[in-house]
Amino acid sequence: MKKRALLLLASLLLVPTLAFANAQIIIINGDAPGVGFNDPTPAVPVGGNNGTTMGQQRMNVFLYVASIWAAALDSPVPITVRGNFGPLSCNATSATLAQAGARSVYGNHPNARETNTWYHIALANKQAGEDLAPVGGPVNPDDLGVSFNSNIGTPGCLQNSAGWYYGLDTNTPAGKTNVVATLLHEFGHGLGFSNFVNRITGANFGEPTITWPDIYQKRMFDNTMQMYWDQMSASQRLTSRLNNGNLAWAGATAKAEAPSVLSQVGRFRIDSPSSVAGNYGMGFAEFGPQQTVYPGLSGQLVQAIDDINAAGPSNADGCTAITNDVNGKIAFVNRGTCGFAIKVKNAELAGAIGVVVGDNAAGPVVDMGSSGDGAFDKSISIPSGRVTLATANTIRAGLAAGTVMVNLGVDPVSPLRGTDSQGRVLLYAPTTFISGSSLSHWDTSATRNLLMEPSSTMNLRHSVKSPDDLTLAQMRDIGWYPDADVDLVEDGDDNCPNAANADQANYDGDAQGDACDSDDDNDGVADVNDANPYSNMQPTVVINGCNSNAPNVVFPNGQTLMDRIAAITASNHGQFASAVSAVTNEAKALGLLTGAEKGAIQNCAAAK
């Protein structure tokens, strides 16, 4: 509740709050009047963003992103995000676009999944079930801080950039940067996709006074050293951060979900003619459907022909409309002059079912990048792949020899792209230039592109969950456990996952807790009709240690015989025995007991 007070103080101009199904995210407007979120400059609604001022559109994007994260995470504590659009550092050729992070960390909080471990504050709050960073406390009361550069695209500030795209869709125009994807990414860092190790010294956060690792680094595993980051010395961490291709995320959830998100290495197979038949490497495209299955797309490969013109000086580059018959076939075009997506689109318009682009220079297998125009990329509906110059020459030899039948797919025995030999998703550990300064990201070898790669904002779906993405899986691995009823009991262990019951009370010991069990004592009488929902359900009637061996039957009102006997108030033993007789007679009259059973109970009652 204290955070609500903060909200009122900080957002006098705009107080957006949204209540979501699983978590509540509160956006605190950190901008001054007239700027950023409060910028009154008129704006044309775009891509589902109906704001009519720059300020409204910016806030709409924040709320949209908050809704995606709120639907993915469960927390009983509102997550507060202080956002602002303002001037960040920039010049004509470079700029800081955005920055974000957790505003505090916490360790050894109530219900901490792992002790002596720093947690991002929003996650610590979730596990504790309380706001650990209240207003007036020792640390910043905000959970996340996010700042965007409002000057991008203006004179003197990366003016060649087309600026931000505020649409809520993925139809990002060429040259613009999708704010939704960027913000999803930045939220991810603040919520848990980051570590706090000192980049310069390799020391844990809080040293020298506290030597705890953070929860993120405890999942970082170096395949060369065969050690987790929290097991390493500071100097070992400095070495490990440069171990490109060998630093993996050792979280079980991300590993388990990786096959549903990542693809295997592309494979281009020539089936005939026999002179060139075989398997060849193939890169994928960042547009159109990804041909990531085995055996993939099969068909006849034909050289596509287009006009020689200003758009393309070759008749095999596919830069203009295809003029020969590629209908129902896989078109082969040469790389060069125009973008990959244009070539593939031209082939699709001519009826091709797939495209192979042959490289025009020697080199390794490389993927084909997006056109930069989200809407254009999404208009492509056929798969495509890229082969090396050597493979392209092999194809040409095949075409000269006769009909070429091919297959575009994946190598079924290859590892997933972006994983190690154990199937663990690789972390980015660059060896040059920005050495080790981007560890809080997935490796760029991941395919499909992932939200938390260091440079990937194109062709991303606005999702954090598999099969689109692995960010939520990573969050699960650090302790953002699913808890739909936010009662601090993980759904998988919760006997009422959709009804808050922190005590997990379960009177009858069945699969459902009392909070969601319609018959708590399992006596066959629904609780709403039960005179005693928590009946004594022992199997036989026992009176003062005397086991009658008669069944403890249930009366129509939900009371058991033991309930009724326990409720008897008698001033002496004779009265008690008489009352028991009355109850058992009633049970017999209802057909619940036999005469022998009734007699056995009455004998117990009569005994001293």
Binding site: T96, R103, Y106, P138, I434
Partner: protein, 136 residues
């Protein structure tokens, strides 16, 4: 590089006596936690009243810059994370005029990237098979 607003870094103290001292009105900004000063040799000592007041003022002015590790009475510990630790998305125009983006783990790396003229491919895709997909 972490910014520190004073030569004396205020840190935590685990001792019970210090916990009791936290009740001082001068330390109200720490709520249920404790501040202890660390001298140039790394030894803990009680901060002076002036140091407490200076920290209160600095924290109020720039609450996210200070790194104050605070221990609660229940054994938990908390610390603000300063903004230099923010993940920073930086853009740069490459030699071909394309805008290239990269997210770095801190502002120092972001500044280094922005100022560099190194070829983009050496930054984003280091192994041949991992090179950033080309557009044409």
């Amino acid at each position: 590089m972490k910014r520190r607003s004073s030569a004396v870094l205020v840190a935590l103290c685990l001792s019970a006596t210090s916990m009791m001292a936290a009740q001082s009105a001068d330390r109200q900004a720490t709520d249920n936690g404790v501040r202890t000063a660390v001298d140039a040799n790394g030894n803990l000592r009680q901060p002076t009243i002036e140091e407490h007041r200076a920290l209160d003022a600095a924290t109020a002015a720039r609450p996210s810059i200070m790194r104050v590790v605070t221990l609660s009475s229940t054994g938990g510990a908390s610390a603000s994370v300063d903004e230099s630790n923010d993940h920073t998305l930086v853009a740069r125009t490459d030699m071909d005029g394309n805008i290239v983006l990269i997210c770095t783990d801190d502002s120092h790396a972001a500044a280094t990237f922005a100022a560099s003229t190194a070829p983009i491919d050496t930054i984003l895709r280091l192994k041949p098979a991992q090179r950033r997909a080309e557009r044409e």
